[in-house]
């Protein structure tokens, strides 16, 4: 919210408050100046006086502000000098123009020492026309080339560096244009945004963002795991039937898709001496994927928090937001009309909410509401637990069931049940809104989200528990491949159910809404439910990546197809949303969800797998080892034999393997967190104080304006004749045309007017 340099500026401004008050007397001295410049024009309008005071005050405070804000005050003084019309114009215009020129000089001076990247960023962020920005850029370049003529070598180096960085920037732009990462589906997204607005667009942007994760994971896995393995691939003797696409078993079991196919040896080719250790490659590749995903998630989350976090104590009811946050992305004519109608409805609701704010509920009503909430929570939690228990018992029963029944399709029973639960229970939760009443509709959305998240996370949790505690220890040959197959089946069944939902479910709902029960109308796109489904699928992919390295590839294809299916379904079966949906806050929350239960859960699961579980004895890269991590121990042992790699061994033993290091690191992180938290609290207090100060300044301003108006009124009343005479002088150019009797009292009156002003 507040960048570093902005905060410094706020601190400086607090100290500057006294000078602002002092500037007022200096502005009052403008009056005698003006009367000297224009002796015939004594009657100065009060409003323009105030504007002059304002510009004076603005100029004083703007000198201490950051150079970016200089432009805002410069443009303000620009327009202020335009409003100050009339004979008093030239005097103040000249001063305004000179002030603006000095500010321009200051801006150029501040731009010169910046690095080229910062300079371009500052120039781009100026609220000026293109022509002015170009002139600014040229002026800065000229000044820079003028400034250091003697340090020629330094200039050469700096120029080299500059051209290098510029070339790098251009090439990065070129590469991104080539890869078309930003313009993938550009037109489709534009149409979606044009018809449905930013909120629905946020779902598709989220999908695109997850797709990037999967593309990256796939590329890394493919290059470092699949390709080396393919070079030493064994022949696949199993028969291929079409059912493998659904079950993942059969022919696919002995392909690069699963953990079990990978060799545990070091791959050597042609006696060149370079060996590729598959064990280490497997572990490090998956680890690198996850670490990069971790940092990418962390940075995205931080960016969203920074942009979208609102200080809760200054939250407003939001009618100003409704007015000023019109969605400019909506371009379709019908959508705009619909949006205008919806906005009117929302404004009316907001107005009536404000009117009904003070109605309190009776005790009886409060009790009924509370009991409805408690009942709803009990039922939802009970249903979630029941589903988890059902899944667990089915999973246990499944392994026995499979031993007796040899039908290869029978393995689909568990994924089928899980997908049914994921389909039916969220819709069941949505029906609670008929019984539960919330004060704010926002709370309803949050409660629904929390219940759905709880359901999905518990199902994944139960399945992980089952896989790691039962399947891994069951003594099956190649249990890792079995887990990989299970995850593949879950993912695929989920995809099939989503397709069926889009093609059949939404289509049916449209037919019902249009033909049979027309009061229902078309449905609205449920962004929360769809995003949760994406998060659920991505969690499964991350867990399964260790057991099935090609899973990101499958998810990539799935997401690609889902984009088009959802797009078509959206255009045909849905109407634009009627309520404002806080897209940014929701996205922040979803990315946080993706990080916190989802990704950290994956890391925990994989950590347990790697450290605690025993790999299967005769398949996969870690066969025969007591634990997966022993491959790393073995590698460190071999390295400690070689003198050149002592530093790696030292890092491992003293930094990664030692408890003291992590203890100290944790302590440092906690101290830094505590300090930042205190700084944030201090800044919150500062913001509140400054807010109060702004209100007080406004009151001061109004008070002073009233006082000035009163003063001028009393002067007007005290010297009404002088006013008439002076006005006549304005009309006549030569004051000495009047008779002497008129001239002498004029001079006297003008003298008294000046005296009054100097006293004030």
């Amino acid at each position: 919210m507040l960048s570093g340099d902005r905060v410094n500026e706020i601190v400086v401004e607090v100290e500057n408050v006294p000078p602002r008050v002092e500037s007022l007397p200096s502005s009052i001295q403008i009056f005698p100046e003006k009367s000297r410049v224009n002796p015939t024009f004594g009657m100065v309008s009060s409003i323009s006086d105030i504007d002059v005071i304002d510009s004076q005050v603005c100029r004083h405070s703007s000198d201490t502000k950051h150079h970016q804000l200089l432009q805002f005050s410069a443009s303000l003084t620009d327009s202020l000098s335009q409003t100050l019309h009339g004979p008093e114009g030239p005097g103040t215009d000249a001063s305004c123009a000179s002030a603006e020129a000095s500010q321009g000089q200051k801006l150029i001076a501040s731009l010169i020492p910046m690095t080229s990247r910062d300079r371009i960023k500052t120039i781009r962020n100026q609220p000026r026309t293109m022509e002015e920005k170009r002139k600014l850029r040229k002026a800065v370049d000229k000044e820079r080339s003028k400034q250091c003529p003697q340090t020629l070598e330094l200039r050469c180096c700096a120029q080299c560096l500059n051209s290098c960085s510029r070339g790098f920037r251009r090439s990065r732009n070129g590469v991104s244009e080539l890869l078309n990462t930003t313009s993938l589906w550009q037109k489709t997204l534009k149409v979606i945004g044009g018809k449905f607005g930013t909120s629905v667009l946020s779902y598709f942007n989220f999908l695109k963002w997850l797709l990037k994760f999967n593309i990256f994971s796939f590329i890394v896995n493919f290059s470092f795991l699949v390709i080396p393995q393919l070079t030493v691939a064994e022949k696949n003797t199993l028969p291929f039937t079409g059912l493998e696409f659904f079950t993942g078993a059969g022919y696919f079991r002995d392909t690069v898709m699963y953990y079990g196919f990978y060799t545990n040896s070091s791959i050597r080719h042609g006696g060149s001496g370079i060996s590729y250790n598959m064990q280490l490659a497997y572990l490090f590749t998956i680890g690198a994927c996850l670490i990069i995903c971790f940092f990418s998630l962390l940075f995205s989350m931080a960016k969203y928090f920074r942009n979208n976090f609102i200080n809760p104590h200054i939250y407003s009811r939001g009618i100003a937001k409704l007015i000023f946050c019109w969605d400019f992305t909506v371009t379709h004519e019908k959508a705009v009309k619909l949006k205008q109608k919806n906005l009117s409805t929302e404004i009316r609701e907001n107005l009536s909410e404000i009117r009904l704010e003070n109605t309190k509920l009776t005790f009886h009503q409060q009790l009924t509401r509370l009991s409805a909430h408690v009942a709803a929570w009990l039922v939802s939690t009970g249903v979630a637990i029941a589903c988890c228990v059902a899944v667990y018992y089915l999973a246990e029963y499944n392994s026995e069931f499979l031993k007796t029944h040899r039908n290869p399709g029978a393995v689909l029973l568990l994924p089928f049940l899980v997908s049914c639960i994921n389909l039916a229970v969220p819709r069941f939760y949505s029906m609670f809104r008929l019984v539960e009443r919330f004060e704010l509709p926002r709370h309803q959305v949050y409660v629904l989200l929390i219940r759905n998240i709880f359901l999905k996370i518990s199902i994944i949790g139960i399945l992980c528990y089952y896989w790691l505690n039962i399947v891994a220890l069951s003594g099956e040959e190649c249990w890792e491949t079995l887990i990989g197959q299970e995850i593949y089946r879950l993912l695929l069944m989920d995809f099939v159910f989503s397709l069926a939902d889009s093609f059949l479910g939404e289509f049916l709902r449209r037919i019902i809404g249009k033909r049979f029960i027309t009061s229902l109308g078309l449905q609205e796109f449920d962004i929360a439910r769809n995003v949760l489904e994406l998060i659920y699928a991505q969690t499964l992919v991350w867990i399964g990546m260790f057991f099935c390295p090609l899973l990101p590839f499958i998810q990539m294809i799935t997401l690609f197809i889902m984009f088009y299916v959802k797009n078509v379904s959206l255009m045909v079966n849905f109407q634009p949303p009627s309520k404002a949906w806080r897209a940014s806050q929701m996205m922040t929350f979803f990315i946080f969800l993706l990080f916190f239960p989802s990704f950290t859960g994956v890391l925990c699961t994989l950590a347990i797998t790697i450290w605690r579980l025993k790999p299967s004895a005769d398949c996969g890269p870690f066969r025969g080892l007591p634990a997966f991590i022993h491959s790393v121990y073995g590698w460190i042992d071999t390295l400690s034999g070689r003198p050149g790699y002592r530093w790696v061994v030292w890092i491992y033993h003293n930094l990664i393997g030692s408890v003291h290091f992590f203890f100290i690191l944790t302590l440092i992180v906690l101290i830094i967190t505590y300090l930042y938290w205190q700084i944030t609290e201090g800044r919150k207090i500062m913001i509140r104080l400054l807010h109060e100060q702004i209100i007080n300044e406004g009151k001061d301003k109004m008070f002073l304006i009233e006082k000035l108006v009163k003063l001028q009124d009393t002067e007007k009343r005290a010297n009404p004749s002088a006013l008439i005479l002076e006005r006549r002088e304005v009309e006549q150019q030569d004051p000495f045309d009047l008779g002497e009797q008129a001239a002498v009292p004029d001079l006297r009156l003008r003298q008294s007017f000046q005296d009054d002003n100097s006293k004030a």
């Binding site: 244009e177 992305t329 806050q585």
Partner: protein
């Protein structure tokens, strides 16, 4: 990159890239969109910096703008003379500010100017009434419109002078994180 384009000199393109948030390819694409609006008027050679203005009627008929309730104000704010007729510079500037790369403060500044119908650097009650009318297309009654304006001034006017200054507006925008994504025209 070695484009063989002859519309701009190398320096002109560099200047455009440094002064807007667009890449070279996007600037060329925008130029062709601008040229398509008035093919007879806009020359295909900008190396001599011709002074060409596309009239507001053509700008307002662009598919991205034609149904926007504020299209006239947008064109007025970004055109040099304030009349809605835009040169290529103004055109690029407009879409650069409305793109997703522009920072919040820059967008807030221009949004303030757009909503300031009488150009007095304050959003007064009259400006608010015009904004609300444009947004709701006459669905609200006059009494409701004035009630809305009152409520907005209550909420957002920090220094209680009866109108919104740029600082009040920026302060309010800070509480509305959706602003960045909604004040965005994709081209």
């Amino acid at each position: 990159m070695g484009n063989k384009q002859t519309i701009f000199t190398h320096e002109q393109l560099e200047a455009y890239q440094d002064c807007t948030f667009f890449t070279r390819k996007e600037i060329m694409r925008l130029f062709y969109r601008y040229q398509d609006l008035a093919p007879q008027l806009v020359p295909l050679d900008y190396t001599s910096c011709p002074d060409v203005k596309v009239p507001y009627e053509l700008i307002g008929s662009m598919p991205e703008l034609k149904d926007n309730p504020f299209r006239q104000r947008i064109a007025q704010v970004f055109s040099q003379a304030g009349d809605g007729h835009m040169t290529l510079d103004d055109f690029l500037d407009m879409f650069s500010v409305m793109s997703e790369m522009a920072p919040r403060d820059l967008k807030a500044y221009y949004a303030f100017k757009i909503y300031d119908f009488n150009d007095d650097d304050y959003i007064c009650a009259g400006d608010l009434e015009q904004t609300v009318t444009k947004l709701t297309r006459g669905e609200l009654s006059a009494e409701e419109v004035s009630l809305v304006c009152e409520k907005v001034l209550d909420e957002a006017d920090g220094d209680h002078d009866g109108r919104l200054s740029l600082e009040d507006f920026q302060n309010m925008i800070l509480r509305a994180p959706d602003f960045l994504s909604t004040f965005h025209i994709r081209i």
